[in-house]
Amino acid sequence: MIRRILIIAVLPFLIFADGNKQERDALFKQAVSAYAAEDYESALNTFLSLENSGIVSWELFYNIANVYYRRGEPGPAIRYWEKAALLAPANPDIAHNLNIAREQLNDKVVLPEMFRLFRWYQELQKRIPLDRMIRLIGYLLAILLLIPALYRLRRHLRGKAKRTPAFVITLCLAILILLLSVITLDTLYERRNSRHAIILAERAEIYSEPDANSVLLFSLHEGSKVRIGREIGEEWSRISYFDDKIGWIKSEYLGKIEE
């Protein structure tokens, strides 16, 4: 238990305090310079080496996506912008680049207009930075407990304290925390239980069974985003495209967003 507590306390320092930080920054800047000089090959290799170090950031994913886009590979570009959006969901640069890339996709589906409230909720879920929300709920919870504690302390020491303001603030905070917790937990559940991927091949066939000789249901093109269901080994994946088109695709055509 003590060992676990120590790890939790020391881990953040381990991440940032190591001497590799400076080296990492230098490599990052070197890759940016290569990109600016239109040496996309070099820039991509450097950025990918940083990704392989096991430490990532939304900026790194964003830059990798930009390099792929410049190389004329929209599939991997969208995949990395999507990865960046998982870490920084409300970032306007990511949203802008994704919009531009999506407009050039071959596969377009126009969905019926959703009920406004549901649409807002979905947009909210997409844009929620989960780590910040978890942190915020924690601090709000601390404040929620602090207020009745101070009230009781004052009552013990002075014999009297105003009850109504403390009660109203506590109630409001409790409702807020409850609301935020429900949204955060729902988002967390959604993100954990749904895995998405981007089609990386120029054209990928989707079959009715995990067999290339089965019925060809439909085709998807590079850059389309699908939801992954079951997987059979590393060869076949069951995917759904906008929930209504379901079939099997060769896993090699997919670039997973959530690792």
């Binding site: 881990l11 990109y35 950031s57 890339a101 780590d131 942190r135 924690g138 967390l188 690792e259």
Partner: protein, 566 residues
């Protein structure tokens, strides 16, 4: 300061009087132009909007006319719709000296260097009273309505507007008319009673009339032949100056006008049929038009919609024709066109724009050639049929997944706008790094708030427990701290100057100690006597000196110490 005020006043007066310069003229009118030898008539010079009009004239009116009365002068000034108008009149009663035709020549007035001239006036003098000539202006009533037709003949289907003009030499304060519902041989498009019509003045046979177009009626001919436009009744409210009898008749305090019914004159109109040879693209449009055709998108995917918009712009019977049917290729699905109207009555007919929007959905990929759009109308200016022909751009239909060079032209304006932009530049540094496969729930930094909350909860429980323990052991704590509290109290009373407070404080200290210790006054034999002594001296505190008070306090402390030792 004074100078600027003077300038301001001058400017204000100038602005006030400037409108007086508008429409300045002098007219000469007679109450009758046909009269008998011994009959007196009145000749009136009317000076409109002229300042310093003469009060008399220094010339003879006519050698054949004898002035029997006058000159009578009057001035009238009114403010209507923000404009000032003034008129001065100079009247003479005259009698003819001989029978026959008397021509009063034009008089010229030189007023402050400006010259004004009246029109010549002809008077017919008979020996005795004669019946009046029905054609003369004398037979015209003081108020009447005249129907004016734009032309005598129309074409079937043509839209035109009739005008009702009110002529009056009296003061009209209001007019109404029932709306025209229907008329044999015509569609009644609109009957409009004008609220504030523009007016003009005209002298008809020596009588001055104000003329205003008070109503208009827009019709579209449906049948051919000769049709009578019947007389239309108007209810006119007149206000006569000589009827002012009380303050309640004053225009400022309401109106007590005289209502009369006046009918316009009837008139006839001939409607001709349209000439033959209209062609298949004529659907009844008469007027002057232009056509504009546009295609929303000329490169689309199969089963994607594009909109063909046809605009007809111009004037004529805009609300009485449809757009001619067009021939579209068979591999396009066509929906009923959506019609948008943006026209209104203006002048003689409708003026504006009509649009037809056809939604086209091609079912197969390939090139689709849409026939030229044709529209025929009858031109009123040239009296012939004219056909407008506009080509439509070929539609290129792509397969669902096809991407062509001019694919961008099939995109929506918003998509094109986005395509025109580039992606944003790289991020120049990393602000926050996380391990790959980052899970926010496992990030220790996100748990700080919960740890604080846990500590607060623990503290809260601990605090409650401590206070609960304290509550339970309150007696023991008080007993334990009794000596300390009492000594603190005695240290404080040393500062008291007045004997009565000093005594009170000694007694209070002792009682606090006994109360904290939970013991009776009888616990020590000296306490009751000591309390009695303090009570006694309270009534005469001045008998004790400061030393005696200190001794009393020391005695109480000694008793407390003894109890503590026990």
């Amino acid at each position: 300061m004074v100078k600027s005020r003077y300038l301001l006043r001058t400017a204000f007066l100038f602005l006030l009087l400037t409108p007086l310069l508008w429409s300045q003229r002098v007219t000469l009118t007679a109450t009758k132009t046909r009269f008998s030898l011994n009959e007196a008539i009145r000749l009136t010079f009317n000076f409109e909007n002229i300042q310093n009009a003469p009060r008399t004239i220094d010339f003879d009116l006519h050698p054949d006319l004898q002035v029997s009365g006058g000159p009578y002068s009057s001035t009238n000034m009114s403010w209507v719709n923000g404009k000032i108008s003034s008129s001065s009149t100079l009247s003479f009663d005259v009698i003819a000296r001989k029978t026959g035709r008397i021509r009063i020549p034009a008089f010229e007035f030189d007023i402050k260097g400006e010259k004004f001239q009246t029109e010549a006036l002809v008077l017919n003098v008979s020996k005795s009273a004669v019946p009046e000539d029905p054609d003369s202006a004398e037979t015209l009533p003081s108020t009447f309505i005249k129907l004016l037709l734009p032309k005598d003949s129309m074409y079937q289907g043509e839209t035109f507007t009739l005008h009702y003009h009110l002529y009056t030499s009296e003061r009209v304060v209001n007019y109404t008319a029932s709306p025209q519902q229907n008329l044999e041989g015509f569609i009644v498009d609109h009957f409009k009673l004008h609220d504030a019509p523009a007016s003009s003045k005209q002298i008809l046979g020596g009588k001055e009339y104000i003329i205003a177009e008070i109503a208009s009626l827009t019709l579209t001919a449906t049948k051919t032949g000769e049709f009578v436009i019947p007389a239309k009744a108007f209810r006119i409210t007149l206000k006569r100056q000589d009827r002012y009898t009380s303050i309640f008749d004053d225009p400022f305090f309401g109106s007590s006008g005289n209502d009369i019914n006046i009918y316009s004159n009837p008139d006839t109109i001939t409607v001709f049929p349209l000439p033959a040879g209209a062609g298949p693209h004529f659907t009844g449009a008469i007027g002057d038009f232009a056509m504009h055709v546009s295609l929303d998108s000329s490169v689309i995917r199969e089963n994607q919609a594009t909109t063909l918009r046809i605009d007809i712009i111009g004037h004529g019977n805009m609300s009485h024709f449809s757009f001619p049917e067009q021939l579209f290729p068979g591999n396009i699905e066509i929906f009923e066109p959506k019609v948008k109207n943006s026209f209104q009555l203006q002048g003689q007919d409708y003026r504006g724009q009509r649009s037809w929007e056809y939604v086209l959905i091609p079912s197969r990929p390939g090139m689709i050639k849409v026939n030229d759009i044709q529209f025929t109308y009858f031109s009123l200016a040239d009296k012939i049929y004219r056909t407008l022909v506009m080509p439509v751009k070929d539609i290129r239909v792509l397969t669902r997944n096809e991407l062509e060079g001019d694919y961008a032209s099939a995109l929506s304006p918003e998509e094109v706008r986005l395509l025109a932009k580039d992606i944003r530049f790289l991020q120049l540094d990393e602000k926050k790094c996380v391990p790959a496969g980052y899970d926010p729930l496992r990030d220790p930094r996100n748990r700080n708030g919960y740890i604080f909350a846990l500590f607060i909860l623990l503290g809260f429980v601990l605090m409650e427990h401590m206070f609960s323990l304290r509550e339970r052991n309150m007696q023991r704590i008080r007993s334990k701290n009794a000596l300390k509290n009492a000594m603190q109290h005695f240290r404080r009373i040393a500062e008291e100057d007045r004997a009565e407070y000093y005594l009170d404080a000694i007694e209070k200290g002792l009682l606090i100690y006994l109360n904290d210790k939970q013991i009776e006054k009888s616990a020590h034999p000296a306490i009751p006597d000591l309390v009695k002594t303090i009570e006694t001296y309270k009534y005469a505190p001045g008998l004790l000196s400061r030393n005696q008070l200190d001794l009393l306090k020391d005695k109480v402390i000694a008793i407390i110490e003894e109890i503590e030792e026990v």
